[in-house]
């Protein structure tokens, strides 16, 4: 069964702007894919729909076989606990340590302190930042900050990992490292969807690519001629 399924999805904003126009695609559990396209093509809107920040205007959005179009507001937090999100600007909190940043998703879910400690360290170990847990994230480099963001996105072992331009501000070397990290999560069964317009990086990875253009799925497959 597909983990993510977009079924003829449309999103029209209140301003009248049509961000997505009849987008359909499926992603299996444990699949990894890139979402690309020019800015304004609808990448961000698509991710926002998956995070339930926005709701579709028409069409169906199924996660793990369950239609989440009309998921009530009170259930949204519980849905989000199955999803990990990595942002371009990290969205780390600079008033607390790296450890406390990564611990947030576990705290809101209500894990015990001991569990939190164990899982946070495991996540930090995965991204190679175990020795920085007591640092303030502001003292870290851009690449390290992004890895803290990734640790926070995966610490609660989500079924789906979304990333919005995760390598936007990073040099090619660091970007490749970040992508390799995502690949590792895919290997353990996480469905990974990465929105990026970093064509060079994407082309170097042998992955499924979905290309949006003006709110429509222009291309979906592993071949990427024409770039």
């Amino acid at each position: 069964m597909s983990m993510i399924r977009f079924d003829n999805l449309c999103k029209r904003y209140e301003s009248g702007y049509e961000a997505l126009r009849g987008v359909s695609f499926e992603m299996d559990a444990g699949e990894m894919a890139f979402l690309t396209g020019h800015s304004g093509a609808g990448k961000s809107t698509l991710l926002k729909l998956l995070m339930l920040i926005e709701r579709p205007t028409s069409g169906n959005l199924l996660i793990n076989g369950k239609n989440i179009n009309r998921l009530p507001h009170s259930k949204v937090p519980f849905y989000r606990r199955q999803v990990g999100v990595v942002f371009q600007n990290h969205q780390l909190l600079f008033d607390r340590s790296v450890f406390e940043n990564v611990a947030l998703p576990l705290q809101v879910t209500g894990y015990s302190q001991a569990d939190i400690g164990r899982r946070v360290r495991a996540a930090l170990d995965t991204v190679g930042l175990l020795d920085r847990e007591k640092h303030n994230p502001i003292a870290l480099s851009g690449g390290e900050q992004q890895r803290v963001g990734i640790a926070r996105a995966v610490v609660h072992k989500p079924k789906i990992l979304l990333a919005d331009e995760p390598t936007g501000n990073l040099d090619p070397q660091l970007s490749a490292e970040i992508m390799a990290l995502f690949k590792r999560f895919q290997d353990v069964g996480v469905t990974v969807l990465v929105a990026s317009h970093d064509i060079n990086l994407i082309n170097r990875m042998d992955m499924r690519i979905m290309r949006l253009n003006q709110g429509q799925m222009e291309q979906d497959g592993v071949s990427y001629g024409g770039y």
Binding site: I53, P77, F78, L104, P105, V108, G110, Q113, R152
Partner: protein, 326 residues
Amino acid sequence: MAATKSRARDSGQRGARGQMLSRVDKWRSYRQHHQATLKSSTLKILGEPLQSLLTILVIAIALTLPAALYLSVENIRQLSGGVDASAQISVFVKKGARESALESLTTKLEGLSGVASVTYISAQDARDEFESLSGFGAALQYLDENPLPDSFLVQPLLVGDASRLVTEIRELKLVDDVQLDLEWLQRLDALLDMGRKLVLALGAALGLGVILVVGNTIRLAIQSRRDEITVVKMVGGTDAYVRRPFLYSGLLFGMFGALVAGILLTGLGFWLAGPVDKLALLYQSQFSISGLGFSGFVTLLLIGGSVGLIGAWLAVGQHLRNIQPR
């Protein structure tokens, strides 16, 4: 389609079972979060001492004013309660009433409802008392007959009954005049009534003030923690989870304010106790000021806490909804 449905049900059941297993854990972590939030909210208030102190003082003053007025009214009422005993009705009997008629009048007076006691004062007794107390005794010697009438002193059970009793007694035969020197007491009662209403009005107005002050403080706190709220919502924090620290802050601000108000009022009580005792001594009264007391202190804390909580709740309800992940 059928396969999809049954699989969905399967996963649903798994989810439910998973939740049941960890219900104890969830309850424990819920309690832990409450404790942690209480602690961190307290630390946040103490961490910005100047800003917090200003808020707390404003709340304290807003609570002190109506509470002080309330205590004043209560004290004056206690004082006037002591005066009730002297709320006597003087009943003057027509001249030349016969002994038997006086006796029947006594019975009638005693039979009225709301009468505590009836004392007969004969004209002669009245004259003797007048002679000894007024200093005009010599002048009375020159009068042929006693100008004073026979009279009764009627003690009502309740001050409130006095006016009705006066009307009823006036109707009785042989009664010449009835005097009730109570008007000032009734005026005081009316004033106290007004005082109590004033306490309510002032309390409501200043309570609203506290709600606004706390609401504004919480609004600022929400603004300054905007990023944190966004991230917490993004990683699956429920509305209740996001609300909790701000509600605790409001509660704590209200209670700290009430604590300071309580200390101020207790201090005020001690400060006034000396002069009031001296004054009471001069009037040969046993009256002494009664302060806030323990139950008053607790009530004040409860009022402060709930008003703070309401203020926080309103601010949170208004502003948190606007903060959504983008």
